[in-house]
Symmetry: C2
Subunit: 251 residues, 2 copies
DNA sequence: TGCTTGTGTTGCATATTATGCAACATGTTG
DNA sequence: CAACATGTTGCATAATATGCAACACAAGCA
């Protein structure tokens, strides 16, 4: 059903463009005539999925997206439940706490809670990070069997810093270590000068998995001792994991 | 572009069904063959707009909806800004504070802040209310010229209680009063035994309008004196309206 | 177990419809 | 004012969405 696939591509484009689309943008990126793009957007707008600003003629997300997202959050209501525990985690570590889920080979950030340190790294909810470079990504990938990982990452892995892993074999080795270690580490593999640790939790009944991480700039730990942060994260895992019925913490 | 319109209809159906859809549901409600419904949903799922639970085969909202909704909220970032003032409003009145926007002839609830009274009326964000029966709806409709209202409400108005207005003429009279009064009232027109008052605010630069209301059960005011609540709401309007550049409060 | 029923997915021929072209309308820039 | 960019509409043609079966699978039941 090609026209629907094009429509979804247009929506992805809308996200990438920061929530605003013009007919010309769709025409160019989807390589269709302007007329087609115009009709495509008009159809999406008809049902309220997107809305056209009467003045600028630009299209933006519609109310229907909010209603759909509410349904998504109901499925992942752990996100709401995690709020208080994440605040405690951010307070204890003084650094940003993250929560995300896997989407293909990327991690989608669903929530961030900033710590008390003056300089903090954080992104807006909805942002995507390459799973093989982010600590949350590794934590979530470590739940999957190796063959599935290979399928997901065919080809080379995109590098964002000099530390980024760039072969699937390296990634698989790293995931094996992660499983033994019990938590994932990203040492400047996503942002230079920033380290992060993460654990993944699975809701027993729903089967959905989330990752929670803490990120911290290296200069904030002159002695390089991040054990307190890891302990805090594992403490969070015990508390919150037990609450949502994660198989790892409840027996 | 009929196939896209069908896809959007399916998404609306998903919202109405509480965030879960099966192929059969789409087939029935859209009156298409199961094969068509199956391919339609598969196409939507391809781009991540919706997701299929591998176990139950049911479709639910995908991560893309969250990202799109984030874009929507950026457009209506008043919703975030209003949080603290709404909390103050709910605290002061001890009743639920609501925030919503107009979508056709309905109000979409974007946020509710519950008051301290033991019994509270509130709905989940994303819920739709008939605009002609809700106080927020009347407040928002009162911004529009009469002819536009007539166009929006052709036919009779659906009644949810015995008090609901059921002719467009009644509604127009009510809206005229609302404009003079400065705030809208819904006296048990939406829920029996529940009254609500509301004001609408318009962001000067963006031109987007929101409504904020306070709802309260009649038994909570034995003497029927709701002037304190109205005063609190108007106070909110002055504070928050000035902050977002509403033309009514800033001169 | 064997039978029935309900449901989701795929191959195929046909008819619906999505597409590019062109033209027009409108707004923007130099 | 000219030149350009952009959004929208009518129309003929090519692309594709659709229903019909048939199949696969699971659940309920005698």
């Amino acid at each position: 059903m090609k026209s629907i696939e094009k429509a979804v591509s247009a929506l992805q484009l809308m996200v990438e463009s920061g929530g605003e689309l013009r007919v010309g943008d769709v025409s160019r990126h989807l390589k269709v005539n302007r007329s087609t793009a115009s009709r495509l957007l008009a159809s999406l707008a008809g049902g309220g999925l997107i809305e056209q600003d009467p003045l600028t003629q630009r299209y933006g997300p519609g109310i229907l997206t909010v209603q759909l997202a509410a349904g998504f959050h109901r499925k992942f209501d752990v996100v709401e439940q995690a709020q208080k525990d994440m605040e405690a985690l951010a307070r204890e570590t003084r650094h940003t706490a993250w929560l995300g889920v896997l989407s293909g080979a990327e991690v989608v950030v669903l929530k961030t809670v900033r710590g008390s340190q003056p300089i903090q790294f954080a992104v807006e909810p909805g942002h995507r990070l390459p799973a093989h470079a982010a600590a949350m990504g590794k934590a979530l990938l470590s739940l999957k069997p190796d063959p599935e990982i290979r399928e997901l990452f065919e080809g080379t892995l995109a590098a964002t810093t000099g530390q980024t892993l760039h072969s699937v074999d390296d990634l698989l080795r790293e995931l094996a270590q992660t499983r033994l270690r019990g938590y994932a580490i990203s040492n400047q593999e996503l942002f230079d000068g920033v380290k992060a640790v993460s654990i993944a939790l699975t809701e027993r009944h729903k089967g959905t998995s989330i990752a929670v991480s803490v990120s911290y700039p290296l200069f904030a730990l002159p002695d390089g001792d991040d054990q307190p942060i890891i302990d805090a994260l594992l403490g969070f895992g015990r508390h919150f994991g037990a609450r949502i019925g994660d198989t790892r913490w409840t027996r």
